[in-house]
């Protein structure tokens, strides 16, 4: 699973299998292994292994047929570029690719000469569904981006707040995004769990939920937490206060995980650091999330702007032996690309945001190009329902800045910033983010060069099904919100 160390997963499996006899845990395990089998909440409230996701996916691929897309310029997402290439989507997977694939009866052929193919885009930083349009800030607001009552709300889960009818999902799909991560906001230090969704419309969030995708934990450092809580006379009021609260929480999580690891071992003799006595600890939803991170099950997505803040966060991750999947909004990452590269932590950045707050004061447009040149995992993210519709243009601007600084980055490399690199950070690089045999058939057929403002996704396939077609209104989802408004009626 992604870049989580195999050892961590092994340990996690041991904990689970130690409990195989317990029906409740077995049910939980089933819920993890086969999410569509229905909800089976554990009988014992204490029997929840760290990091367990209790909301199963009810996603079903749209009706699909086998498709051969023929003669396109193909960017595979991991550095490859092929001209006049064919791509066969069968049963939801990439089944074949090459020059002049044989035509088979029953396979629909899409002529794509002059058009481009890329993997489905991945937006690793979205608030869609929680920033529900039209946005209402009055009491009660429609805004559910973050629980603001405490700097540590690791017990919250953004899945409980998402409105599947947010029109931003449909426009992200029309912009070529097939997968996005909805993250909690950045006011708390520990903002709660994230979720990975497909942009395929559903009646509920669970209909859109990416099956078996690891959840993330959103964290934040720097100005936002201390500003939000400090201004209310609450801790933290400073950067050092933020780090102290974080470290205390991680220590508690380490103890909690230790108890879990000693479960089933008589007397806990061989148990973890917590020295458990064979029984699971009393359930603590907050620690269940944090221990899930230490156990390698939840992936950390950390909002952090400045070089110093990022370096401190990487140090804390080393101290408590967890990995940060990605630093988001890493405006000053260009100052320390080597630190990120060494930690195997991705930097998710904008191409051109700067100046609007003190920790964004040093933003430069060459950020992504410099990170890429240093071999650091580079991602372009949106954090915006408008920018989330045009991620390849964000990459185009970052490429241009690189060109201006003497770093020529070819399109086949830059496309990784919005495909395979975010897939890696999400722990989904075994399924999405590239066009390769056996991968999910999430592909975008562009009208032209995907880095040109004039190009548009003509077709977007998710799991091999045509989820969006620019030339077929029957394949253009319209969210509930946009129905029936006189203000949208067109007499023409």
């Amino acid at each position: 699973m992604g870049d989580v160390a195999p050892g961590q997963w092994q340990r996690h499996a041991q904990v689970l299998f130690a409990h195989a006899a317990r029906a409740a845990v077995a049910a939980t395990l089933l819920a993890i292994a086969a999410p569509s089998s229905g909800e089976h909440p554990p009988e014992r409230e204490s029997a929840a292994p760290p990091g367990t996701d209790f909301l199963p996916s009810t996603y079903r691929p749209l009706p699909r047929e086998d498709v051969l897309i023929s003669g396109a310029t193909l960017l595979d997402g991991v550095g490859g570029r092929h001209e006049r290439y064919d791509l066969l989507l069968r049963d939801g997977r990439i089944a074949a690719m090459g020059s002049s694939l044989p035509r088979t009866e029953g396979v629909r052929v899409v002529q794509a000469a002059g058009r481009w193919l890329t993997p489905g885009l991945i937006d690793i930083h979205s608030h869609n569904g929680t920033y529900m349009l039209p946005v209402v800030f009055e009491n009660p607001p429609t805004w559910d981006v973050a629980e603001m009552s405490n700097p540590n709300v690791a017990e919250t889960d953004i899945q409980h707040a998402i409105n599947a009818q947010d029109p931003a999902f449909a426009l992200a799909l029309a912009g070529g995004v097939t997968t996005l991560q909805v993250l909690p906001g950045s006011a708390p230090l520990f903002g709660g769990r994230s979720v990975v969704l497909k942009t395929v419309p559903g009646r509920t969030m669970q209909d859109m939920k990416f099956p078996d995708a690891p959840q993330g934990l959103k964290m934040a450092c720097g100005e936002n937490p201390k500003g939000n809580f400090g201004s209310r006379g609450q801790a933290p009021t400073s950067r050092q206060g933020e780090v102290a609260v974080m470290r205390a929480a991680w220590q508690n999580a380490r103890d909690y995980l230790g108890k879990w690891r000693s479960v089933g071992e008589p007397g806990g003799r061989d148990g973890g650091e917590g020295g458990g006595h064979g029984e699971p600890p009393a359930r603590d939803l907050e620690l269940e999330t944090l221990a899930g991170v230490l156990d390698g099950k939840l992936r950390v997505h950390l909002h952090c702007y400045t070089a110093d803040d990022i370096a401190v966060m990487l140090s804390i991750a080393r101290e408590f032996n967890f990995k940060i999947a990605a630093i988001h909004h890493a405006v000053e990452a260009y100052k320390i690309p080597d630190l990120l590269q060494a930690a195997g932590t991705c930097a998710a950045v904008w191409p051109d945001w700067w100046g609007f707050k003190m920790e964004a004061f040093d933003g430069i447009r060459e950020n992504a190009a410099y990170l890429d040149a240093a071999g650091a995992c580079t991602i372009l993210h949106s954090d915006s329902l408008f920018i989330g519709q045009r991620l390849t243009l964000e990459a185009a601007k970052a490429m241009a800045a690189g060109r201006g600084a003497g770093l020529d980055i070819p399109r086949e490399r830059a496309i990784a910033w919005v495909t395979s690199n975010p897939a890696q950070a999400l722990g989904l690089d075994d399924r999405i983010g590239r066009i390769a045999l056996g991968y999910n058939a999430d592909v975008v057929l562009w009208s032209g060069d995907p880095f040109s403002v004039y190009s548009r996704p003509d077709q977007v396939y998710v799991d091999g099904a045509l989820a969006y077609d620019r030339h077929d209104p029957a394949r253009q989802p319209v969210p509930d919100l946009l129905l029936g408004h006189p203000a949208r009626e067109d007499d023409e």
């Binding site: 349009l133 931003a168 430069i364 403002v453």
Partner: protein, 428 residues
């Protein structure tokens, strides 16, 4: 990388580092020229600048022997860009209130609030915008102590000696659901207040106004300021998105015979015919295709296309707060490109960021087009100017080359990938 010049030469007119000698004769040769004068682009064209003005534009122009020649092959020249709504020069870091001067919430200044006294030409965003090819910008107040008026906005010329081309360029007001609380809670009150302010201003006789109305709603400063509108010396810019408000704006222009400009205008496509007939221009961000507010339920991606087709004079701005001022040049070009991608003819998309704003804001005699006698404000691009991936190769304002000595450039050069023994702080 920019050649390093002695500090004396980096002397900046307006905080912009400009190459010396606006009197230098410069010729750009062999470029594609978007003159914005109604003709098709000149292919393999030449443009000559001298003494801060354009002296010749065309396809077979002799280059004076003393001219500095710039190779324009495979490159494109446009007039310098023109952004019709920013807070340039009125903010540095938007989260730091001490650097923000675009609004007042207390005190006697309503319509009379005039942001021009706060203009900071040394603002980093001003220099960044110039390096990105922006020549002119409207910089406007966002609210005042007497809603719905926000006060006077100004016109900036980033190539001018102090950046301020025209203070008190236009009166700004904001109407709509988001702002109605400041008028008591209803947008109807906002319209009544605007009308009553114009009425009072008409009869206001200045000074202490002896004999004037005793229950005047607006103070004498505001009423004096609004005379600029009622006596048709400046337009009234009304920030509104909902169809009903845009119709009210058109009605206001008709009833009071004042010049009205609609800004925002996300539902303006529904009123396109009336706006065109009343000659009310619209300042809009054409990239907004979803309703953030109830007032914007009709937002759609081809708003600009429908307005232009109906004959409405349109100009662009950028509404995303991270871009509107910080990337006032580059993001403006990007939204124009998105408008073109959504069906606006390319020439019309370019016009909305060059010649149209020059016309709307009354400076078409010197800005917005490439023609003899105009200010030598132009940009040489390394590709299609509507492509976000194109870069400005050279920017000329008043005939002087704007060097890209931005703070971002300094950081870029300091942290350029390289291995050095000394920390970045020694790379100067």
């Amino acid at each position: 990388m920019t050649a390093r010049l002695p500090p004396a030469i980096l002397l900046s007119v307006l905080g912009l580092a400009c190459a010396p000698a606006g009197s230098e004769t410069v010729a750009i040769v062999g470029a594609k020229l978007y003159t914005m004068t109604g003709d098709a682009p000149v292919v393999d064209g030449t443009i000559i600048m001298r003494d801060g003005r354009i002296v010749a534009v065309g396809s077979r122009i002799a280059v004076p022997a003393d001219a500095r020649r710039i190779d324009g092959r495979d490159r494109v020249v446009t007039p310098a860009l023109f952004n019709s709504a920013t807070q340039l020069g009125l903010t540095e870091v938007s989260s730091v209130s001490a650097t923000n001067d675009y609004a007042v919430s207390d005190g006697p200044l309503g319509a009379a609030f005039d942001v021009s006294h706060a203009l900071n030409p040394n603002s980093l965003a001003v220099r960044q915008a110039a390096a990105d090819g922006l020549g002119r910008a409207v910089s406007n107040p966002t609210s005042s102590a007497s809603a719905p008026f926000s006060g006077f906005g100004m016109l900036l010329h980033l190539g001018g000696s102090d950046a301020l081309e025209k203070p008190r360029l236009a009166m700004f007001a904001v109407v709509g659901g988001q702002s109605s609380n400041r008028a008591g809670g209803s947008r109807s009150a906002q319209w009544q207040l605007i009308r009553s302010a114009l009425d009072e201003s008409r009869t206001f006789r200045g000074g202490a106004d002896p004999g004037g109305a005793r229950d005047s709603t607006f103070n004498r400063l505001d009423l004096a300021a609004l005379k600029e509108v009622t006596e048709n010396r400046v337009p009234l810019v009304i920030d509104a998105d909902r169809e009903s408000d845009i119709r009210e704006a058109v009605a206001l222009a008709r009833d009071y015979r004042v010049r009205v400009i609609v800004k925002g205008g996300l539902e303006a496509w529904r009123v396109a015919g009336e706006l065109a007939a009343a000659r009310v221009p619209v300042i809009l961000d054409p990239s907004i295709n979803l309703p953030l507010q109830f007032d914007e339920l009709g937002a759609r991606a081809d708003n600009a296309v429908l307005l232009q087709r109906a004959g409405v004079l349109i100009a662009f701005t950028v509404s995303l707060p991270m871009h509107s001022t910080y990337n006032a040049g580059s993001a403006l070009r990007e939204v124009a490109g998105l408008a073109a991608a959504n069906g606006l003819p390319e020439a019309a998309a370019l016009a909305a960021i060059t010649s149209n704003p020059a016309e709307i804001w009354g400076v078409a005699d010197r800005a917005g087009t490439l023609a003899p006698g105009r200010d030598a404000d132009l940009v040489l691009w390394d590709g299609d100017p509507l492509e976000p991936a194109s870069l400005a190769v050279a920017v000329f304002l008043v005939g002087r080359e704007v060097l890209p000595d931005t703070r971002q450039r300094a950081l870029r050069d300091r942290y350029r990938p390289q291995s050095q023994a000394l920390p970045p702080a020694y790379r100067n």
